[in-house]
Subunit: 386 residues, 2 copies
């Protein structure tokens, strides 16, 4: 006996690939990991030291459901410093990862039958969160012509009677594409026209490679922004994120947070207070530059091998590559790359249906030398597939 929703909630295929990769490694095989959506770096030393100090000071009890007041204020201060926007700390809700933020949002906004517009390809959990609460993911296929992003026109054409929200990610996963500033304003306006709300996932915001980032919060106080300490701040395993909400939603979100998870992990919240220190910021900037070096190596190297990459990533740490020169089944191709070439890559089918069998995602979350080894193995394999 199971809830019907289980039939529509899909596992990440990359998890099975990762498990297989670990098995091969335990048998002595060398595997180059280009599948993992997690920075290879450990948490910066200053953040970890703050976590250690918090534990040693006995900070092991619950925090308020909305999070530590000092952390909410530190995030508000960072928005002012980094982006010049004034956000009241009262509008900031600390969550267990961006997952917790997505969950609060869907619980707060999605009724049975409610539509939420989102891109295909996109983050695999997004449609699943909407389905979990009985809603309907309104899938909008995007490609390079749309910079792999929603835009105002597409919102107007895809909006249905039951739609309540549009969810975008900038930079996006799996493409690393950005929604340009002017388009963000137009998109927000289109969503407002339809009487919906805009949800903007900014978890890769500070991992940028050309233009300095902005926040959608510049454009209004009636939208929701999701962010996280996982990717840029290197705190994946700590499970800490946040949500900026319109002021009149905060009380409902507080009630939901009390019920859904009581509070985010305490040690993570104290540790994150150190995330905005100048020393930590300098370390994070070095890492950003290192991700850029990796991208600048991997992008032309993959193109030289015959992958077509029409979304030059402007953020995050992913390359979304057309592999149709080699296969019409990206999932089988990924299995083969793993088993034969010892390179783990994520099939496009994890990110949706649209042209998914023709795409794979490379994550440059490993060292340059590993990337070079991976490219060498890919070259050998593609010249002599077995």
């Amino acid at each position: 006996m199971s809830a019907r929703r289980l039939r529509s909630i899909t596992p990440f295929q990359v998890m099975a690939l990762l498990a297989r990769a670990r098995q091969l490694e335990s048998e002595g095989r060398s595997i180059v990991h280009l599948e993992i959506g997690e920075p290879d770096f450990e948490t910066p030393a200053g953040i970890t030291a703050a976590g250690v100090a918090a534990l040693q000071a006995g900070r092991t009890h619950y925090t308020p459901a909305l999070g530590l007041a000092a952390l909410r204020q530190a995030i508000a201060d960072d928005y002012r410093r980094r982006f010049g926007v004034e956000i009241s700390a009262q509008r900031i809700v600390i969550t267990p990862g961006a997952s917790g933020a997505l969950q609060l949002l869907t619980a707060a906004l999605v009724d049975a039958g409610s539509g939420v517009l989102m891109t295909d390809p996109g983050y695999p959990c997004n449609p699943n969160f909407v389905r979990l609460y009985g809603g309907v993911p309104v899938i909008v296929p995007v490609d390079a012509r749309h910079n792999y992003q929603l835009d105002a026109d597409r919102v107007r054409t895809h909006w249905t009677a039951g739609s309540v929200a549009a969810l975008i990610a900038s930079p996006s996963n799996p493409t690393g594409s950005l929604l340009p500033r002017a388009e963000m304003a137009a998109l927000l306006e289109a969503v407002r026209e339809r009487g919906g709300v805009l949800l903007v996932d900014e978890i890769y915001q500070n991992l940028y490679y050309r233009d300095r980032p902005y926040t959608a919060l510049e454009f209004g106080d009636d939208l929701f922004v999701i962010n996280s300490f996982s990717k840029y701040f290197g705190m994946t395993g700590w499970r800490l994120g946040w949500l900026v909400a319109p002021a009149d939603y905060v009380q409902s979100l507080d009630t939901l947070a009390q019920n859904l998870f009581l509070a985010a992990p305490t040690v993570a919240q104290y540790a994150a207070l150190a995330a905005f220190d100048p020393q930590t910021q300098a370390e994070l900037e070095r890492r950003r530059v290192e991700f850029q070096r990796r991208r600048d190596y991997l992008l032309p190297a993959l193109r030289a091998l015959g992958f077509v990459i029409d979304a030059e990533p402007q953020g995050a740490f992913y390359l979304y590559a057309d592999c149709s020169r080699f296969t019409d089944d990206s999932h089988a191709f990924c299995r083969q790359l793993l088993e034969t070439a010892g390179v783990a890559v994520t099939p496009g089918t994890d990110f949706g249906m649209h042209a998914a069998k023709r795409h794979v995602r490379f994550a440059y979350t490993t060292s340059l030398s590993q990337l070079e080894l991976g490219v060498q193995r890919l070259a050998d394999f593609l010249q002599h597939p077995q």
Copy 2:
């Protein structure tokens, strides 16, 4: 614009009381806290030290969604050692607190309209979790005649066509009552007869005051057990719990966990590996005895004041007290106790509707001297209410 479910998800009233108590304290008032469902003890030193060591070793990345294999095995070993039951580690799912376990279960089992039987009074989040996923809490009023627990007869009479599960807690919150072993077997049989599943919340299991506890897992491998490192192990702020599931549900739970929260916090999982060390166990046993001392003081002291306590707690750290000699509005009474007497207590209305205005919950999660001060203040107030 909000989801309809928000209208049926209730906040904990104790949170508003706690906030008011903190405000009074910031104004210099002394408040005795008998409202908090969280042990006053810090996390045992051995567990915290293991957390510190994990951070220092750079254990800051994601774990598998089902949790660290070593922790799942450690929990399985503890079931064997403590209760003599053999549980495969494969059936153990590590979750972000018992909240995460309840959420996985309702997501996995509850469809729109599905009924879940539960007691009133009971843990406030239980009906909210069911409502979150479109289900219907089937509320069964219980009192001292039923030892504040569901039983087989009551399952048979309250089961509806749409019911899919019964959820019980032993020891219970807010009463600390246990479901006797023989009744557990009968209850499970009644749920099976109806084609449903039994969910047993055992988060207060090892906080017992008379009979040594058992686990519902003794009675079958077709039921779900929820547990947590929060209460007995003193790890509330770490957000770590677990679920024992029938083997054929684990794959679905893995998929749900990937989507809902990716994984439980990594540092908490490494820290919890030390929870079963003999030294830590000895410390936890001292704390259990201390809770018993507090109960043995508070129970007769409250009765002497005129509170009627017909559920002598056999576990957990709560006393559920009839206050109808003093009030017919427990919520107003709690406000008054806080404002006038400086004693914070939780109104029965947080735990349901059944006789809720005649009851309050005292938590003995503070030192004996604070309990004595609280009783003195209650005595003064009840003799001279203002």
